[in-house]
Amino acid sequence: MADQPRVIVITGTRKGIGLFLAERFLERGWQVIGCARGAGGPDHPAYAHHELDVADEPAVTRMMRAIARSHGRVDALLNNAGIAAMNHALLTPGATLRRIFATNVFGSFYFCREAAKLMARNRHGRIVNFATVATPLKLEGEAVYAASKAAVVSLTEVLARELAPFGITVNAVGPTPVPTDLVGSVPEEKMRALIARQAIPRYGTMEDVLNVCDFFLRPESDFITGQTIYLGGI
């Protein structure tokens, strides 16, 4: 089995950080299976794309069972798909909460659950969830987004314990602002103020996010679980 190409599932691969991560893992010879609501992802023979909403439980189950049949294994999951909303809490409609929690929390949970079932068969797996510095920075205007990612951190910590007997580690990466569409609508001035609160005041890069994922995926990191690593010195 060791000489078979490794299989990684990355959610949200149509654009942004997810697309970047998918391209890097393809370059390294991994089989990459991605998803997004829209079509796309890297154009590469070792890439397979599923068009789905991560909050659609039966669709997620179907995708993971299809992987079980086609590849028979999943070595790693990067739960990258996520959405944000910037608005004062008093102006935030319930629909925004439902949408953000559906994608960030429910979606992450469904993928953790279904990927872990496949990983457990090989008694090995690595899960990386996506948090944000908006949570520890208690960012005004991002109450719902920060709360949804706080839930992701909490899931990471508890799943780490529940999945440890199956040889699966569960960790999270908390990026600082990285220039993508996700932060495109946030005013420049707000962004500067936010970055000034970091120990190292600069925008994060996609390579910074990849570096933390790489650390969690290294074979030597099999004793590291339940941790959230924030970038930038938060």
């Binding site: 439980e57 189950t61 069972r65 079980a68 457990a120 199956f166």
Partner: protein
């Protein structure tokens, strides 16, 4: 594709047989569909139950092509838990398949 109780039970027993291959004698899961599985007087702990449910989902999927999720909120309920016996699990699988078919 629909699922009948007999097919479901056969698939779940297949899952039990597979799991038992890697368990030492004395800690194997009984094949008896009515033996208490999980909960008071049960033979599997929570990790054992997770292993069994995962294997059952995979065997049901192989047998029928259905992608069922046998998760249940009633896991801890003594009377309603779908995990109290292999037969209860099979009945639950049939119920889930029916719900999925709409």
């Amino acid at each position: 594709m629909s699922l009948d109780a007999e097919t479901a039970l056969a698939a779940i027993r297949g899952a039990v047989a597979e799991i038992n291959l890697s368990l030492p004698e004395g800690s194997r899961i009984p094949d008896d569909p009515d033996a208490v599985l999980f909960g008071d007087g049960g033979v599997v702990d929570s990790v054992g139950l997770v292993n069994l449910v995962m294997a059952a989902e995979a065997h049901l999927s192989d047998a029928t092509g259905l992608d069922l999720v046998l998760a249940s909120e009633a896991a801890m309920s003594r009377r309603r838990s779908p995990y109290r016996s292999l037969r209860a699990l099979a009945e639950y699988a049939v119920e889930m398949a029916r719900a999925q078919a709409g």
